[in-house]
C-alpha cells in the first residue's frame, strides 16, 4: 500500500534509482574485472562536441549519447561548476574532460566505460593556505606514500605542521604540496603510525608508513558494530592476524591455540581437516552443543572450516554473557567474530604467501618383536590356562590336550617381524599457497584472494585439500550510500583413513606388509587361531576409500546508508550454502574375507539471513557520548540429505567403486528434509560520560521454530558498566598507570542447538519382513514436548584492565560466573514409557573461573620483544539434574558421572590400591566376585568388608583441564623476526583405553613399557601396581578402576615462526617486498610420565554432546605431527 502511494509522491527519488542502477552496473563491471583480473583500460572511442556555454551536465549527457561512457557523480558537485564551451572533433573522452575540468573544482577517474566525477583534492582547494610563515619562498614538494610492503597508500593526509595547509594522497600514493624550507610535513592516516618529515631543501619526499598495531587493536569488533577498545565494557579477546597465516594447518583454529584466555582449543584428533574442539569458558550444556557461534563478517552461523587464515584480518571472541547477549539465542557458547581482509585505496597490491614442508608424526619406539613378543604370548596363554584350571605343563604348541585357544605357535617369532606403527604412519607433505590482490580507489575497494592447501595425515592415505576463493568489495557511492559484498566459495576434499589408529597399529608383528598370493596377508594366513582375525592394516588403508567433499559459500551483500550525522542504516542479505558429499567404499583388494561395502550420502543446506540495523552515535557537549543500535534479523535454514548404500558384498568387482556396480540395499535409501527459522529483534545502547564512566545495555528477543508453540520466543537482556579510573583527576599524577578500568557485566544468552522439530512426537520408519519381503512399518520415535524452550545462560563478569608504563604492560583480569538454566537435555525416563529419554528444559550447570591476559612490550628499541601471556581457570559443576540426584553412563565398565556438586561427566570407578598376589590375600580383603590373583585390590571406601558399585566407587577426575596457559613471544631485530607460541594445560584426565591394545590384552602389537610391568604370578609380580593384562579380565576388573585414568596435562611448544625480510634485495626488480620464513609446529611436547597416549589430549569419543556422553575416552587418537615448513611472502 505504502509503496504504491510513494510512487506518486513528488519526493519520489528518481535520481536515486538511476544512481542505484549505475552502482549496480559498476558493481557488475567490477566483479567482472576482478574475476578476470584484467586491468581497466579506457575504450578508444572518438567523440565530437560543439557546445557553447552549457552546463557540465549537458556535456556529460552528450558524451553518454555518443559513446558507451556513463557518468557517475553527485549532483551537489555540479552546483559549484561553471558553464563551459567546447569545440572538438574526434576527440577522446579524456581530451574533452581535461578541457572541461580545467577551471572546475573537479577531477575524474575512468573505470572502463564508467566515468566517476568527484571533487578535486579537498584541502588544497577548501582551506586557504596560511601565510603566517610564508616569508621564505614556497617550493612544490612531490612524493609518494607507501606502506612497508611497498603498496601505495591513498588518502593519507599531508599537513604542513602548524598550519591548516594540507592535501591528501591520490590513489597511486602520490601527493603534491607547497611548503617552505623550515616546514615539517606530517603524514597521518588511520591504522598507520604518524610520520613527520623535515622539508629541508628536498623537493621530492617519499615516505613509508608503518602499521600502527596499537591503533588497529584499538578498534574492537563487537556484535553488529565496532567499539574503541577503551570504551568496551565487556570481556572480549582479540587477535590480529599478524603471522597466523604462516602457521601450517588446514584449519584456522589450530593457529589460534594458546592465544586467548578462556578460549580453550584442543586438538583431540590429528585427522587432516578435522575440527579442533573449541570451548569458551567451560562446558555449559549437556545435550545442546557447546560450540561457540561463528560469525564471519556479520554472517551468523558460519564454520571456521570455510575460512582461509590468509583472508582473516582479525578474530574477536565475545566471552561474557553481556557481549554475547546481542546474539541472543545462540550466544551461550560464546561468539567468535571473524573479520576478513578488505580492500584499501591505492594501487593494486598483489601478495603471495606460500609455504611448503612436511609433517612427521611423533610416535612410540618401544615395540616388542620376535623372541620377546613370543615369550610374552607364552606367559600370557599359560596364565590364562592356569586361571581356568588348565595344566600348564602340557606343551605350549602342538599337543592336542591343550585347547588351540591356549596354544602359541612358534612361527610367530620365526617369521620376519614388522612394526605396524611404522608401516601405517607417514611423513606427509604440507603446502599452502595464497594469492591475493587488494586495492581500489577512494570509493571502490576490493580484496580478492585464492588459496590452495594440501596436507597429508599422520596415517597413510589420509589427506585434506582446500580450494578457497574470496572477493570482498566495498563501494562508496556518495556520502550517503555505500554498499559491499563478500563471496567466499570454499571447496574441501578430505580423505579419511580406512580404520582408526589402534586397529591399524595393534597388528601382530609376524604378519608381512608385503602382498602374498595377490593380497595383503592377515594373521590367519600364518596362524589360524589365537590372534586377531582382522584383515591386514594395509587392506583397511588401501581397500577403503572414504571421501568427504564439501562445498560452501558464505556470501553477503549489504547497503549502508548514512542518513544524517551519526545515524546510519545497514541492511544485508547473506547466505551460507553448503553442499556435502560423502562417498565410501571398502573392499578387500584381494582379501575375500573382507566384505565389500559402499555408500554415498549427500546433504545440502541453504541458510539465508536478512539483517537490518539502525545505528546512531552522537556526542553532546563534548562529554556525553551516546551510541545505539536497533535491529531486526530474519534467518531461515533449509536442509536436505539423501543417502544410499550397497547391499554388502554386492559389488561386481573392485575396479568400479561407485554404487552403479552394486545392488542398492533398499532399506538403506533415505531422504530427509528439514528447516528452521529464527526471527530476532535487538537493541543496544552505549553511553559514556567524559570517556570515564561507561554504560551499555542490550536486549534481544528471538523467536525460534525449534520450540513448542507457546515457547518460541525468548528474551536475552544484558547490562554492563565500566569505570576508567585512570581518567580521573586524582590519577593524573600516577604516571605509572596509563590505563585502569574496572568493568562489570551481567547478561543472558541462549542455546537453541537441538535438532529441528524436537518438540513434536515423531513417527518414523522401522522395518519388518513378513513373507521375507521387507516393509517399512512405523513407530513413534520420540515423546512430544510442547513446553520445549531455550536453554539460558545467565552470567556475570567482573574485570579489571590495567595499563602500566605508558601501556608497555597491559593486564586484563576477568572473573566470571555463569549458570546454564533450564538446560536442554535428554532426560532419561523410565523405559516403561516406551522411551529411554526425552528432551526437556531441566537441570542447571555452573561454570566459573578466571581469565588473565597479560601483554607486555618488553623491548621497544631496535630489538623488539613483545609477550602475550594468558591463563585461564574454569570450574565446572553440575548444580541440578532435574529431580535426579545422579546418573551414570558406562563405557567399558568405567562410569561417567553426573552428580550435583561435581564436574560433569567425572570418571567414576574403583580406586586401585594394589594387585592381589594369591588366593589367601583375596580371601582376606574385600574383592569383587570372581577375583583372581593378578586382579586389582580395590579400596573399600566405606569399609564394610565388601566391594560394591554403590558404595565403593569414587570420583576419579574428569576430562576438563583445570588451568590452561598460553604464551606468545615475538621478537624482531633488523630484518629478522621471530615468534614463539606455547600452550600448557593442567589437571585434565583421560581414560586411556588405547593402552589396553598395547599392553598385551589383545596379543597384537605390544609396547614394552606397558606390557612388562604387569603381574604374572606371585613369584613374578611385576611392579605391584599393574594388574594382569588379559582380555578375560579387562572389563570385570581393570577398566572399572583408575588404572586407565591418566594425567592429560601437557606442555606443547605449539609454534615457532622465524622470518627474514629481503625486501631491500628485490626492490625495483618487479617486487615490492619479500620475506622468507620457516614455521614449525608441535616442536616439543612434554607430557606426564603417567600418560601413555600418542596425543596427551587425544580423545576419540567426542566431547560433551548429550546425556550419554563419555568425554575423555581415548581409543587411539592419532599422534600429533611435528610440522616444519618453509615459506615466502612476496608483494608485487
Amino acid at each position: 500500500m505504502f509503496l504504491k502511494s510513494m510512487r506518486h509522491s513528488p519526493f519520489y527519488p528518481k535520481r536515486y534509482f538511476k544512481k542505484t542502477f549505475l552502482i549496480m552496473k559498476l558493481t557488475a563491471f567490477f566483479l567482472f574485472a576482478v574475476c578476470l583480473q584484467v586491468s581497466a583500460s579506457g575504450y578508444a572511442q572518438k567523440i565530437s562536441l560543439s557546445q557553447t556555454n552549457v552546463s557540465l551536465k549537458k556535456i556529460f549527457k552528450e558524451i553518454e549519447r555518443q559513446s558507451k561512457y556513463q557518468f557517475f557523480y553527485k549532483d551537489k558537485l555540479l552546483k559549484q561548476t561553471e558553464s563551459v564551451s567546447v569545440n572538438l572533433k574526434d576527440a577522446s573522452v579524456e581530451e574533452i574532460l581535461d578541457l572541461c575540468f580545467k577551471e572546475q573544482p573537479l577531477s575524474y577517474t575512468i573505470l572502463d566505460n564508467i566515468i566517476v566525477v568527484k571533487a578535486k583534492k579537498l584541502y588544497t582547494k577548501a582551506i586557504p593556505a596560511s601565510t603566517e610563515l610564508s616569508n621564505a619562498p614556497l617550493s612544490i614538494i612531490n612524493g609518494t606514500i607507501k606502506d612497508v610492503q611497498g603498496n601505495p597508500l591513498a588518502g593519507v593526509s599531508v599537513i604542513v605542521k602548524g598550519t591548516r595547509k594540507g592535501t591528501s594522497s591520490g590513489t597511486d600514493g602520490s601527493f603534491s604540496i607547497d611548503a617552505n624550507v623550515g616546514d615539517v610535513l606530517e603524514f597521518t592516516i588511520v591504522g598507520y603510525q604518524k610520520k613527520s618529515v623535515n622539508v629541508g631543501k628536498q623537493t621530492v619526499i617519499n615516505v613509508t608508513l608503518e602499521v600502527n598495531a596499537s591503533d588497529l587493536s584499538d578498534i574492537v569488533v563487537v556484535g553488529y558494530g565496532t567499539q574503541k577498545r577503551s570504551s568496551v565494557t565487556a570481556a572480549i579477546s582479540k587477535i590480529q592476524n599478524d603471522n597466523l597465516d604462516e602457521v601450517p594447518s588446514g584449519r584456522p583454529e589450530t593457529a589460534l591455540i594458546g592465544r586467548m584466555a578462556g578460549v580453550d582449543i584442543s586438538q583431540r584428533r590429528n585427522i587432516p581437516g578435522a575440527a579442533p574442539n573449541i570451548s569458551i569458558r567451560g562446558t555449559g550444556s549437556i545435550s545442546a552443543t557447546n560450540n561457540p557461534l561463528i560469525v564471519i563478517d556479520g554472517f551468523p552461523g558460519g564454520d571456521l572450516a570455510q575460512l582461509d587464515m590468509n583472508d582473516v584480518e582479525s578474530i574477536e571472541v565475545l566471552k561474557d554473557a553481556s557481549s554475547a547477549a546481542i546474539y541472543g539465542s545462540r550466544g551461550a557458547g560464546g561468539v567468535v567474530l571473524v573479520t576478513t581482509k578488505r580492500g584499501t585505496s591505492g594501487k593494486s597490491a598483489l601478495n603471495l604467501n606460500a609455504y611448503t614442508g612436511f609433517a612427521k608424526p611423533m610416535v612410540f619406539d618401544d615395540w616388542m618383536t620376535g623372541e620377546e613378543w613370543y615369550n610374552y604370548l607364552v606367559k600370557y596363554q599359560n596364565r590364562e590356562y592356569a586361571w581356568i584350571g588348565g595344566d600348564t605343563t602340557i606343551p605350549i604348541f602342538g599337543d592336542s590336550r591343550r585347547p588351540v585357544s591356549y596354544q602359541v605357535n612358534p612361527l610367530a617369532k620365526d617369521l620376519p617381524q614388522t612394526i605396524w606403527q611404522d608401516e601405517i604412519i607417514q611423513t606427509a607433505p604440507v603446502q599452502n599457497y595464497n594469492l591475493s590482490v587488494k586495492g581500489g580507489s577512494e570509493n571502490v575497494k576490493y580484496y580478492v584472494s585464492g588459496t590452495y592447501g594440501n596436507e597429508g595425515g599422520a596415517v597413510k592415505t589420509a589427506k585434506y585439500e582446500t580450494y578457497g576463493f574470496r572477493a570482498n568489495l566495498d563501494v562508496k557511492v556518495n556520502k550517503v550510500v555505500n554498499f559491499g559484498f563478500e563471496l567466499s566459495p570454499h571447496f574441501t576434499k578430505q580423505r579419511v583413513a580406512g580404520s582408526n589408529m589402534v586397529s591399524l597399529v595393534k597388528y601382530p608383528p609376524f604378519v608381512s606388509p608385503e602382498k602374498l598370493n595377490g593380497k595383503y596377508p592377515r594373521t590367519f594366513d600364518y596362524i589360524p587361531t589365537g590372534h586377531s582375525g582382522q584383515a591386514s592394516p594395509y587392506t583397511f588403508l588401501y581397500g577403503t576409500k572414504n571421501y568427504n567433499n564439501n562445498f560452501a559459500n558464505v556470501g553477503r551483500a549489504f547497503v549502508n546508508l548514512n542518513l544524517m550525522d551519526g545515524l546510519s542504516f545497514k541492511t544485508s542479505l547473506g547466505t551460507n550454502i553448503i553442499y556435502n558429499t560423502y562417498n565410501s567404499f571398502s573392499g578387500g583388494i584381494g582379501d575375500a574375507q573382507v566384505t565389500t561395502n559402499g555408500s554415498v550420502s549427500q546433504s545440502q543446506s541453504v541458510n539465508l539471513v536478512n539483517e537490518n540495523v539502525l545505528s546512531y552515535n552522537k556526542t553532546l557537549h563534548e562529554v556525553h557520548d551516546f551510541s545505539g543500535i536497533l535491529g531486526a534479523s530474519y534467518q531461515k535454514n533449509y536442509s536436505q540429505s539423501i543417502g544410499m548404500a550397497a547391499t554388502a558384498n554386492s559389488f561386481n568387482n573392485e575396479i568400479v567403486q561407485t554404487l552403479n556396480n552394486a545392488i542398492i540395499n533398499p532399506s538403506s535409501a533415505s531422504q530427509s528434509k528439514s528447516q528452521w527459522g529464527l526471527i530476532s529483534y535487538f537493541a543496544r545502547i552505549n553511553y559514556a560520560y567524559k570517556d570515564r564512566y561507561l554504560f551499555a545495555a542490550s536486549f534481544r528477543t528471538d523467536g525460534s521454530s525449534r520450540f513448542g508453540a507457546d515457547n518460541k520466543w525468548g528474551d536475552f537482556p544484558s547490562v554492563s558498566a565500566a569505570w576508567r579510573v585512570s581518567k580521573e583527576n586524582f590519577m593524573r599524577n600516577v604516571a605509572v598507570i596509563s590505563e585502569l578500568k574496572l568493568r562489570g557485566s551481567y547478561g543472558v544468552t541462549g542455546n537453541f542447538n537441538i535438532g529441528d522439530f524436537q518438540y513434536l512426537g515423531a513417527v518414523g520408519s522401522v522395518l519388518y519382513s513378513p513373507n521375507s519381503s521387507t516393509v517399512k512399518g512405523t513407530a513413534q520415535t520420540s515423546i512430544d514436548n510442547q513446553n520445549l524452550s531455550w536453554e539460558k545462560v545467565k552470567g556475570y563478569d567482573l574485570g579489571i584492565e590495567l595499563g602500566l608504563f605508558n601501556n608497555r604492560v597491559n593486564l586484563n583480569v576477568d572473573y566470571y560466573d555463569k549458570r546454564t538454566d533450564g538446560m536442554l537435555y535428554a532426560v532419561n525416563v523410565p523405559a516403561i514409557t516406551g522411551f529411554t529419554s526425552t528432551i526437556e528444559n531441566i537441570g542447571v550447570v555452573r561454570n566459573r573461573g578466571v581469565d588473565v591476559e597479560l601483554y607486555t612490550r618488553n623491548l621497544v628499541g631496535a630489538f623488539k620483544w613483545n609477550t602475550s601471556f594468558n591463563v585461564s581457570r574454569n570450574k565446572n559443576e553440575v548444580v541440578d539434574l532435574g529431580g535426579v540426584d545422579e546418573r551414570i553412563n558406562t563405557l567399558w565398565s568405567m562410569g561417567f558421572l553426573l552428580r550435583k556438586g561435581v564436574p560433569m561427566f567425572s570418571y567414576y570407578g574403583y580406586k586401585m590400591i594394589g594387585v592381589f598376589q594369591n588366593d589367601e590375600q583375596i580371601s582376606k580383603l574385600p574383592h569383587l566376585a570372581g577375583t583372581k590373583p593378578g586382579n586389582p585390590i580395590l579400596l573399600d571406601v566405606n569399609d564394610d568388608g565388601k566391594i560394591d558399585p554403590d558404595n565403593d566407587r569414587v570420583i576419579l577426575g574428569n576430562a576438563m583441564p583445570k588451568v590452561v596457559f598460553g604464551m606468545a613471544n615475538s621478537f624482531s631485530y633488523k630484518k629478522f623476526d621471530l615468534s614463539i607460541t606455547w600452550q600448557a594445560a593442567f589437571g585434565a584426565k583421560i581414560f586411556n583405553a588405547e593402552n589396553q591394545y598395547y599392553e598385551g590384552n589383545t596379543l597384537g602389537a605390544m609396547r614394552r613399557s606397558l606390557a612388562e610391568r604387569q603381574w604374572w604370578s606371585e613369584s613374578d609380580p611385576g611392579d605391584g601396581k599393574t594388574p594382569a593384562a588379559a582380555l578375560s579380565q579387562l572389563f570385570a576388573f581393570n577398566t572399572n578402576t583408575d588404572f586407565y585414568i591418566e594425567d592429560a596435562s601437557f606442555f606443547n611448544f605449539r609454534n615457532l615462526n622465524l622470518g627474514y625480510n629481503l625486501s631491500d634485495l628485490v626492490k625495483g626488480k618487479g617486487f615490492k617486498s619479500l620475506r622468507v620464513y620457516t614455521s614449525m609446529s608441535n616442536l616439543l611436547i612434554i607430557k606426564s610420565k603417567n600418560n601413555h597416549a600418542y596425543n596427551p589430549e587425544g580423545t576419540t569419543e567426542g566431547s560433551v554432546s548429550g546425556i550419554n556422553s563419555t568425554p575423555g575416552v581415548n581409543f587411539g587418537s592419532e599422534p600429533l605431527s611435528r610440522i616444519i615448513v618453509l615459506g615466502v611472502n612476496i608483494g608485487f
Binding site: 510513494m6 588348565g390 582375525g533 541492511t571 537490518n612 533398499p666 519388518y768 521375507s772 514409557t833
Partner: protein, 496 residues
Amino acid sequence: MQKNKFNITILILLSAAFLLGSCEKSLLRPVPESVLTTANAYNTAKDMDLAVLGIYNSLQSRVPKDFELMEVPSGNVWVQYFATAPGIDEISTLTVSPQNDKLNSFWKTTYNGIFRANLVLANIDKPTDYATSKKEQLTGEAKFLRAWFYFDLVRIFGGVPAVTTVITANESRNTGRASEQDIYALIVADLKDAIAGLPAPSSADWGRASKGAAVALLAKVYVYLKDWNNAKTYLDELFSGEFSYSLLTNYADLFKVATEKNSEAIFSVAYAAGTNGQSLTYDLAPIGGVYNVVNNGNRVIRPSWDLRKAFEEDDSRFPVTIAEDWYPFAYKQGDPAIFYPYINKWLVPSDPASSGLDIPVLRLADLILLNAETLYNLNKPDLALAAINKVRERAFGNASHDYELSDIATEEIFYDKLLLERRLELAVENDRWFDLVRTGRYTTVIQHIEGEYTSKTGGATIMTMSAKPYMKYFPIPYEQIQLAAPGVLTQNEGYN
C-alpha cells in the same frame, strides 16, 4: 537530495517491515516434511497395519541377542569374548549386578515393544476403513506380542510394572512392580483375546502371529504356571485338526533359509537377508569365518563340554548344534581341519551382519515336549513317553533310541529325561535356563561350567558358576530403579 535520502530510508525500512510481517509464519512454524508426527500418523487401516509391523520390529531387533541373557547362564555355552558384549561376562559367571547393561537394554527394548503395542491398541478405534476382521486381527497381534514381551519379562525379572496403556513420564515414575501372578494374569488375558482375533495360520502372513501361535504360547505359559489342566486344554487345541503343524523329517531343515517356512514353525520372527537381516551367524561363527558359510565371525559364545557330552553320537541334532572340525573361511583344499568347537546352529551362508534366516521362536517340538510334561503331570506317563519318543525318533531317524516306561520310573527320572531332551532339542534356542529355573533344578545343575574342551581327552576348562536360589530372577536394572520415584521400583531379593 536530503529529502530524498529520508524517503529512501523510510522506503527501505517499511519494505523490510512488510517482508517481515508475512514471514513470521514461514520462519517460526515450518511443518516437518520427511517425518510423520503423532498428530497425523494413525488415520487409516493401513496406518494401523504399519504400526503393528512396528511392534514386530521391536521383537525382531531383540531376539537375535536373547541368547546373551537366556542361553549364556544355562551351561550350554561359555563366553569367550567379553569385549564385544560388555556385561555378558557377569551373566556367564552368574555374578549379575543390577548395573548390568545387558539387562537394562533388554528391559528397554522389551518395554519399547510393549509401548508400541499399547499405542496400537490406543489408536485402533480411530480408522473406519477396516476390511472384515482386520481390526480384530491387528488387535490380536498387538495383544499376542504384548503377551510375548511380558512373558519374557516375567521369566527374567519376576513381577514387573504392568503397563497396558500409553503413559506419561510422570506416570511412569510412580508405576511400581505388579506381582508375578498379575503379570501372568495379564499374559493369559491378552493371549485369550489374541486367540479370539487372530486368523488361522494359513491366512496369516509368514512372520506374523496366527491363532496357532497364540494357542501354543498360552499352552506354554500354563506349563510355566504348572496349570496342567489349562495347559492340556490349549495343547489339545493345538494338536487338534484345526491346525496342521507337523515335525519336519530332517532336524537340520529347521535352520536353513530354504526351508525356514515349514510346518513345524508355529511362530517365527522373520528376517530378510541384506535388507533386514539378523546377526546370529556373525556372533556365533569363529573369528576367521567358516568355509563356504561366512567370511568372519565373532565367537561370542561357544559350546560347553556339558552340552557336547550330553549328545549321543548318532543324534542328528549334534552336528546341527555343534561343529568341532573347523574350516576357516580361507580354507584351501587339503588343509587339515582345526579342532575348534563352535555353535553351528543358526549359521547360514550370509553376509556376516545380515543373515536372512527366520528365527523360529515357537516350534512344534517344544510344544510336543511341553505336552509330554503336561501329560506326565496329569498322570498319563505312557502318553508323555510317546510324546518324548516322537521327538527322539525324528532326531535319530528311527525308534532305536526310544525310551521305555521303565526309563521314566520316577518323576525325578522323568524330568531328567525330559529336560535332557529339551536341552538337546532346543539347545541355543533360549529355553534351557528357564526350564531349569521353573523346575527348580538350576541350583543343583548349575554349579560350574565346563568350557573349552579338547578332542584328545574331552578334558574341559572348568569355570566357576554357582546358581543360588535368589538367582531365579535377574536383578531389576539399576538405572530403572533410579529413574523411578524413590522406593517405587523394588529390587529383587539377593541383589541389594
